[in-house]
């Protein structure tokens, strides 16, 4: 090998049209030689704040309002997610909200595994009450570009429930996007205080047509339906809440 190297060098000296310096330093001696320092952007933190749903149903009694969104920050592999969603009646100043704080790790090309805590709250005339839960789930892109989010929750009392959310962006034009979305909740145990029945609790589906004025600003109109089942429906009835409803909604989707 040494011989071939020597031959190579000879051949080089004889034929090379343009070659570099003859006698360079063996190793860069300036103090700043730091391979890996140039492309630091792969270590930077990147964030996204998305308010996916920010809407009211103007025609309905009590004017139901709703918001759903998250803030995430982190690197390609590790992120912190804070999710929030809430709904209520504007005129009655009552409703419920849910906040999650999750550690998220990229586990496959398209999916992040997430784990953390979830806090359910309910507010209104009776004041504010809350219950903490543990949350574990996945978020990512399924084949055919379906955004899916299967999650399991365990309350501090040991009650187990699950929620599956899925959505899809259908481009009508480059800026007009139809977004069907669905959410299914099931539970293993009944939790009367929180209106949770055993088995299938509710199916919620929405269809929102948004126009992306900018990528980040997209007003929309849509239709949202909810159907409660079994024990959950019974509890809702007892509270004077509807077991099924259909609402026209108007809102705006925002992110930055």
């Amino acid at each position: 090998m040494l011989r071939s190297l020597a031959l190579a060098l000879l051949a080089l000296a004889a034929s090379a049209p343009v070659t570099a310096q003859d006698d360079p330093p063996p190793f860069p001696e300036y103090p700043d030689f730091r391979p890996g320092a140039v492309a630091a952007a792969d270590r930077d933190l990147y964030s996204l704040a998305l308010l996916d749903i920010f809407e009211v149903a103007p025609a309905a009694s009590g004017v139901p309002a709703r918001l759903e969104g998250f803030y995430r920050i982190g690197t390609d592999y590790n992120r912190l997610f804070v999710r929030a969603e809430g709904e209520g009646l504007i005129s009655e100043a009552e409703g419920e909200a849910e906040v999650q704080a999750l550690y998220s790790r990229l586990v496959t090309e398209y999916f992040e595994a997430q784990a953390g805590v979830r806090l359910d709250t309910e507010f209104g005339e009776g004041g504010l009450r809350a219950r903490p839960q543990l949350a574990v789930g996945l978020e990512g892109l399924a084949p055919y570009f379906f955004e899916v989010e299967p999650f399991l929750f365990l309350s501090y009392k040991g009650d187990l429930s699950a929620r599956f959310e899925g959505s899809y962006d259908l481009l009508i034009t480059q800026r007009l996007v139809l977004q069907p979305e669905a959410e299914v909740t099931v539970a293993l145990q009944e939790v009367e205080d929180w209106g949770v029945g055993t088995g299938l609790n509710a199916v919620e589906a929405g269809l929102r047509l948004r126009y992306e004025v900018e990528r980040e600003v997209a007003p929309y109109v849509g239709f949202s339906v909810l159907q409660r089942f079994g024990g959950a429906a019974d509890f809702a009835r007892a509270e004077g809440e509807p077991t099924s409803e259909g609402l026209f909604v108007v809102g705006v989707r925002l992110w930055r």
């Binding site: 080089l12 860069p28 030689f33 140039v38 492309a39 792969d42 990229l106 090309e109 481009l171 800026r175």
Partner: protein, 644 residues
């Protein structure tokens, strides 16, 4: 008329015509009675082969299309001044940094001493804020090149300039007049915001996705094709990460309207020196109604090839000679995704224009770009023999070999074995080194079991040479399109067989806008160890759906395009999706050399390595241990590198 005088005149002309004050003198409308060679910046000193320039880097306001922004400029213009040398000169270039941040100038395509190459943290510490750095190196080559910042996003902000070196002897091709045509892309957004947008949503700038309306109207792909792509979570309209949605496409620093213009006298042969100084844009260049003869690529003479159109990758340079008639011609440069255009005019008289051609429909990737098209492989091979009639027998033999594999379905086995060798592929018994003969095309190869982890969205099933293909969106409309297999070096050179082969996979996860090599970013795996004096075969495999213009600093790469002793030398090569190509490198320059994708944003996110050239004895164990606290990467364990 001396040069200084001419520049003053040209400036006055520019002001009268209401052109942007930011356009460098050399790029303003040429005069038919002006000099035949474009005058460069006036050297500070020019005597006895010593050429000294002073360049000032600063922030400058610029305006076009009714909008204003701030550019990082060389001597106050975008592009910077034309630097002109003659082969054999000694170059001294003092760079005065007036910014409040570090800057650098990299001399793209020039073979020079390592500490003059200009990559901060690799070749030197960078040019500190408010300081001056003096570059000094011998000019030992000729041709069209360029220079640009290698710091942060300064290149996207306008910090680039053309560099022309006249040969010491006569030019092998006759031409009467020349123009340098620098293509680039400009955004009024802060490039950091651009990157942040892509990180939030990788298709942020793509307003050419397939829609329901498009599907119903039968535009682009069929429903079946669409579903195939959707199943893989891949978007075939993902042609360019950043598009005309934010970019203004520039020719010699000018927006398309009114655009740059160059004048000629009827009957003259005009040499156009195209430089793609874009941060992210691949351009398809043509002059409707005027065939071009390509004479130089990447600063190297090639045997003349007549063509109607060529694709110029980011950081490449192409020189063409045209013989215009007594009329105006549009110099049309369409970005690969067709989301706009850069435009200029070549005309016999000032004020003349030619029609601007209609932009073509944005192209769509095909299953070939995913390395998924088994069935047509034999057919592909046939195309290849048609496209490159002059290809050396060796190249054809290589292809035939691949086709045989495909037809006998023996391919899986051979492919897996090759890839299983762990990044180093050896073909048995073809050469004393055990590697296939120099200058020939790589074999069609099944992708190995290593899919490079979650930083790589999807490894193609098989990879092959695509050097004979014009690339996505080209070659379907009857125009002649230049392809890499058309390039033959002017003079034959016997090519020594490689001693060793290194295989690198270009990887990415588009959904998350992650880019790397072999599934790792630069910070995760910074070095490619090379041995001084070895002859390397560098095989690159593109495991992504994007084109990547790969650039090696400090050493030439000989592109193995099947042309045997006539294979061309390049400093940058575009690797198409699912492509496998190889280059021969004479490892004749000690030190750390940058090797990276020239898409600025891909480079910044980690598609970057330092090719570390050392004598076997010179590896400094202590320094290496510092750089690799978690242990050395596999390359350092290679017996041929450990030797000494």
């Amino acid at each position: 008329m001396d040069r200084r005088h001419f520049i003053r005149n040209a400036s006055a002309f520019g002001a009268l015509a209401g052109l942007s004050a930011l356009t460098p003198a050399w790029a303003r409308t040429g005069l038919a009675h002006g000099p035949l060679r474009q005058p460069g910046l006036v050297p500070t000193v020019k005597r006895d082969g010593l050429v000294e320039y002073d360049i000032t880097i600063d922030r400058t306001r610029l305006a076009f299309g009714g909008r204003t922004g701030t550019a990082v400029t060389m001597n106050g213009t975008v592009p910077g001044p034309l630097l002109r040398f003659t082969e054999g000169d000694e170059a001294v270039i003092r760079v005065h940094n007036r910014l409040d941040e570090m800057t650098s100038v990299h001399w793209h395509g020039l073979i020079l001493p390592n500490d003059q190459d200009g990559v901060p943290h690799v070749n030197f510490p960078g040019i500190a804020a408010r300081s001056t750095f003096e570059y000094r190196y011998p000019i030992r080559q000729f041709g069209t090149y360029w220079c640009h910042s290698h710091s942060a996003f300064q290149e996207q902000l306008g910090h680039y300039a053309a560099l022309v070196i006249d040969p010491a002897g006569p030019e092998p091709y006759a031409f009467d007049r020349e123009y340098v045509v620098v293509l680039s892309d400009w955004t009024f957004e802060d490039p950091h915001d651009v990157l942040a947008h892509l990180k939030k949503r990788a298709n942020y700038y793509n307003y050419q996705r397939q829609t329901v309306a498009g599907l119903l109207l039968g535009e682009g792909m069929s429903l079946g094709q669409r579903l195939d792509w959707d199943r893989m979570r891949m978007d075939p309209t993902d042609i360019a990460d950043i598009t005309g949605a934010t970019y203004t496409f520039l020719m010699n620093g000018q927006a398309p309207d009114p655009g740059w213009s160059g004048l000629f006298r009827p009957g003259e042969r005009v040499r156009l020196r195209f430089v793609n100084a874009s941060a992210l844009t691949f351009y398809d260049v043509r002059l409707p109604g005027l065939p071009m003869t390509v004479v130089q690529v990447n600063g190297q003479h090639v045997q003349p090839v007549e063509t109607d159109e060529f694709r110029i990758g980011i950081a490449e340079t192409y020189d063409v000679v045209v013989e215009p008639g007594d009329r105006a011609y549009t110099v049309f440069a369409e970005p690969m995704d067709r989301s706009g255009y850069a435009r200029g005019t070549l005309a016999p008289r000032a004020g003349m224009t030619a029609p601007v051609p209609e932009r073509r429909e944005r192209p769509s990737l095909t299953m070939m770009d995913m390395g998924m098209d088994h069935g047509e492989m034999g057919h592909e091979g046939m195309d290849m023999s048609g496209a490159a009639p002059g290809a050396a027998a060796g190249g054809m033999a290589g292809m035939d070999h691949g086709i045989d594999h495909a037809q006998t379905e023996g391919m899986d086995h051979s492919g897996m074995t090759m890839a299983a060798a762990g990044g180093e592929m050896a073909m048995p018994g073809q050469d004393r080194s055990g590697l296939r003969p120099p200058g020939t095309l790589p074999e069609v190869t099944m992708h190995g079991p290593d899919d490079h982890g979650i930083a790589n969205a999807m490894a193609p099933m098989q990879t092959r040479s695509r050097l004979h293909e014009p690339g996505v969106g080209l070659g379907n409309d009857g125009r002649r399109v230049l392809v890499y297999t058309d390039l033959r070096s002017l003079h034959p050179e016997p090519r020594r067989a490689p001693d060793r082969e290194v295989e690198l996979h270009l990887t990415g996860n588009m959904e998350r806008y992650m880019w790397g090599i072999d599934g790792k970013t630069y910070t995760e795996d910074p070095l490619i160890p090379l041995v001084y004096g070895e002859r390397l075969r560098l095989t690159m495999v593109n495991d992504t759906m994007m084109n990547h213009p790969m650039h090696l600093h400090g050493m030439w790469m000989e592109l193995e395009n099947g042309q045997g002793d006539h294979i061309p030398r390049v400093h940058t090569v575009v690797v198409k999706p699912a492509e496998r190509l190889s280059l021969l490198v004479e490892v004749d320059a000690l030190g750390p050399w940058a090797f990276h994708c020239h898409v600025l944003y891909h480079m910044d996110l980690g598609m970057f390595r330092v090719a570390m050239v050392q004598r076997p004895d010179d590896w400094d164990a202590e320094r290496l241990a510092e750089m690799y606290p978690q242990g050395l990467p596999p390359g350092f364990g290679r017996p041929d590198l450990a030797r000494g």
